[in-house]
Symmetry: C2
Subunit: 199 residues, 2 copies
């Protein structure tokens, strides 16, 4: 196998990169449009990223400082905790423009019996310890709008029954912004009709 | 900018990788599904690929040996020369299963006045020198089925008029295999009707 074939086969293992795109990327890297300095920087970044970036010991999002920037920012609302499945969901919520100023907690996934993921595989113990510290007044459940995310949210809701002082909320469900009713899936449409709101 | 943001912005510069896929790839690399050994290998491969791989001085396709494996293979048909636009077209033709056993020549692009690419920007001088050596009996024009590829093929046809001993052929044009006539573009359909063949 040549170096080029090896590179193509490794690129093809990345998510969303098929054999054709892997070939296109590899030829781009050896072509004139990509210079040696860029290749070196990208290559070193990939080789070392796992040594530099690690999950924040407090919230679980990826960080280079311990605790992460959000957890160590005293100006953020220490009484709001937004619970997400994956580290990347934190970035997505921060970039949404909603102006959320509270804290985060990453579960590490969702309960999914079909994939063999039970509550013991997620960070519920750590979550309940965090809750027990007593600063949190609202928990926002931002798990995915899927069966697994739904199950996980219900599970957390049950765990928090012993904390009546905490308000538990969920991200609203309904028609996505910019969508066309004609193309919205049945479940979403049924749910948004069922939970219709007054103008 | 954090290391993660830097990595994402570099990945997003690769062809076919948008900001969303770049994020997905970066999170994959720091997540549990990608191990440190793989990241190191991929990173080193990207950082060094341009030092290892270079255009073959004879045909122009990317290689690690000089001349490349194809050019230095005496069992290949030395009288057939397939002319392509880009180095990756060589691999595509070799992988097509057509069993082509001749040699290749990479032009480095196609004549495209709109993009400011004239004949002087492509390897026509080197091509004519190769032809002058006298081993070639057939030239197969495998430029792309586009206006630019067409123009380039006609240009080569004219250059080869001084060599009546050489047969010049072109890849056949017509309906693509597996296509549905309903969805074939107008040009392709018109051309395949015009150049219909006897059963």
């Amino acid at each position: 196998m040549t170096s080029l074939d090896t590179l193509i086969s490794m690129l093809a293992k990345l998510p969303g990169v098929g054999p054709k795109s892997a070939q296109r990327i590899a030829y781009h890297l050896i072509g004139q449009k990509s210079d040696q300095a860029f290749n070196k920087m990208l290559g070193e970044s990939i080789a070392t990223i796992k040594e530099k970036v690690f999950p924040c010991p407090v919230c679980g999002q990826f960080t280079e400082t311990s605790p992460c920037e959000i957890c160590s920012d005293p100006t953020r609302d220490q009484s709001q905790l937004c619970i997400v499945e994956q580290p990347q969901d934190v970035t997505t919520i921060l970039n949404s423009g909603a102006g959320y100023r509270g804290l985060f907690f990453v579960l590490g996934g969702a309960i999914s019996p079909l994939d063999g993921i039970g509550p013991e595989d997620l960070h519920f113990g750590k979550l309940m310890k965090r809750i027990a510290e007593g600063h949190i007044k609202e928990v926002i459940l931002a798990t995915n709008p899927t069966d697994e995310g739904e199950t996980t949210a219900l599970y957390i809701g049950r765990l928090l029954k012993d904390h009546p002082e905490i308000t538990v909320t969920r991200l609203a469900r309904g028609l996505p912004y910019g969508g066309d009713i004609e193309y919205v899936d049945r479940n979403t449409l049924a749910r948004s009709l069922e939970r219709r709101i007054k103008l």
